[in-house]
């Protein structure tokens, strides 16, 4: 393999990012926890905003305004990354509405996906999506659920080379197709992967997360609450007496801190329709983040419930 400047630079940045991300994050309460994107060193708040189901509200003006208020609260609280997909119904136009209404187009780290079985239709879909968001270009474009990943990654690479995108990646969810994902991570130059990870769905800890660190790939986490199921499941359970050690003050924060404290995680993207929940999620990114021992205790505690 030829050693070229790109490989050296990427290795150096990834190494620095890995060192920084492994340091315990004990920021002051008002400081937001940031993670470095391994391929460039750019920092991102470790809690972002998903849009699956929650922002698919059609042209319902009442619900559009509620979603816009959530987006506004998200930025006011220090958030940056918003994630969507053409598969999510009208979520993209809802995001565009919210960004325009509260003038956050320049604040957002925009992450979307290409989702079509037809390779040639990718650029047109991305262009349409960009129109929905109202942004000049996407920060991150991902191949959704690995659909036609080979062809779409070629397209995304070319778009990135032309400066039309800043980062590229691929996504899966529910622990599906990790074998293909691992192959892609080993053989393709990508900036991000998006996977499911939470205190019960920990499959990615075995190979995907370590591989992401090894290869200098950023990790976005979907389904942090299993679409709210985990919160409902544990709501009636007692929180551990040692809760203050985790920095959390509620079950949602306990569950989210478990995820974002993993050193390989760049950003988790819980979705919500409520302002108080977006604030609670963002607050999980402040204060202490559990270290490896505490994360083990958290997982053990939940397992025995």
């Amino acid at each position: 393999m030829l050693i070229n400047r790109r490989i050296v630079l990427k290795t150096a940045v990834a190494s620095a990012a890995a060192v920084l991300n492994s340091l315990p994050l004990r920021a002051a309460p008002e400081t937001f926890a940031l993670r470095s994107i391994p391929s460039t060193g750019e920092t991102l708040p470790v809690v972002g905003l998903g849009s699956w189901i929650t922002f698919n509200v059609g042209d319902d003006q009442l619900l559009l305004d509620e979603c816009a208020a959530v987006i506004d609260a998200f930025f006011a609280g220090g958030g940056k990354l918003i994630d969507s997909s053409p598969m999510y119904g009208s979520s993209q136009s809802t995001i565009g509405y919210g960004l325009k209404k509260h003038r956050h187009r320049d604040d957002v780290f925009s992450a979307d996906k290409v989702w079509t079985s037809y390779p040639d239709a990718g650029p047109e879909q991305i262009s349409r999506t960009r129109g929905e968001w109202g942004v000049k270009r996407f920060d991150l474009m991902q191949v959704h659920n690995l659909l036609e990943w080979k062809s779409h990654l070629e397209t995304l690479r070319a778009m990135k080379a032309r400066g039309e995108l800043r980062y590229i990646g691929v996504t899966t969810s529910h622990g599906r197709r990790h074998d293909i994902l691992e192959r892609i991570m080993n053989t393709e130059e990508i900036d991000f992967v998006q996977v499911t990870y939470n205190i019960l769905d920990r499959e990615v800890e075995k190979r995907i997360l370590p591989l992401a660190r090894e290869r200098g790939i950023g990790v976005i986490i979907n389904r942090p609450y299993q679409r709210g199921f985990l919160i409902k499941r544990f709501a009636s359970e007692e929180l551990p007496k040692w809760l203050p050690e985790t920095g959390a003050s509620s079950w949602p924060q306990f569950l989210l801190k478990f995820i974002i404290s993993h050193p390989a995680v760049t950003c988790a993207i819980p979705a919500t329709t409520r302002i108080e929940h977006v604030r609670e999620n963002l607050a999980a990114a402040t204060g202490n983040l559990p270290d490896a021992n505490l994360r083990r205790r958290m997982a053990d505690y939940v397992r025995q419930l």
């Binding site: 189901i53 929650t54 698919n56 509200v57 059609g58 042209d59 319902d60 009442l62 619900l63 598969m87 999510y88 119904g89 009208s90 659920n145 659909l147 529910h174 622990g175 599906r176 197709r177 679409r227 329709t273």
Partner: protein, 227 residues
């Protein structure tokens, strides 16, 4: 997509319960006062079914139902449901086909024979049709949802499908079976959707579709024994 066995019903749901409920609220507000017109049409169909009617009456029944299905295809599936469910764009043409088929039965084909006789099957159809017209709009309030989200025959697809299956269960003719396919499939699809949403009334449309099939079987036995 690979590994289908790992998918659950909720994986195919694109929207929340609140969004689906408000869909009907907004739809009702936009089409008002069409609900009154549809109720009147429903009464006309009921009268035509109950009284001895010849081919002209049967053509009117098919024509009215056909027009209603075309309206539901455009106003609900295309204009409303498609805003939150991209799959509705693919369903709308089939719903429109249902409307066109019924109109074809009304205008060009040999009219089906739709008649009410004093049999368990016919009375079951009466109950099904009556529920579609009068009972369905009350389900929302009974389940604690806003009254404005009531589903009305001729406006919302569920009571429209149920009423159509009821009427067709009284019919004989070559195209009756084909005209039953779309309403039957919709009753199953809506049952699955509401089940995924966690609505307790998810079973109503599928149950009434099965009841319409039962009504048809009961009528078939009665007619054979009468002959």
């Amino acid at each position: 997509m690979a590994d289908w066995s790992s998918y659950t019903l909720s994986d195919f749901l694109l929207f929340s319960s609140r969004v689906y409920e408000r869909l009907f609220e907004l739809h009702n507000a936009v089409v008002w006062p069409a609900q009154l017109v549809m109720f009147a049409i429903g009464l006309v169909i009921a009268v035509l079914v109950l009284r001895p009617i010849g081919p002209v009456g049967c053509r009117w029944i098919c024509g009215l139902l056909g027009a209603i299905w075309l309206f539901v295809s455009w106003s609900f599936f295309w204009e409303r449901y498609a805003t939150i469910n991209w799959a509705a764009n693919y369903v709308a043409p089939f719903v429109a086909l249902e409307g066109l088929l019924l109109l074809f039965m009304a205008l060009f084909a040999r009219p089906p024979v739709i008649f009410f006789c004093h049999s368990p099957g016919s009375y079951l159809v009466l109950m099904i049709f009556g529920f579609a017209l009068l009972g369905y709009p009350l389900i929302a309030a009974a389940m604690g949802r806003p009254v404005q989200s009531a589903e009305v025959f001729g406006i919302a697809p569920d009571p429209t499908a149920v009423a159509t299956l009821g009427v067709l269960a009284l019919g004989r003719g070559p195209l009756i079976l084909f005209a039953s396919v779309v309403p039957c499939l919709w009753c199953m699809a809506t049952g699955l959707t509401l089940l995924a949403l966690g609505w307790p009334d998810w079973f109503i449309a599928p149950l009434l579709a099965v009841a319409a099939l039962l009504a048809r079987l009961l009528r078939g036995g009665r007619e054979k024994s009468a002959a």
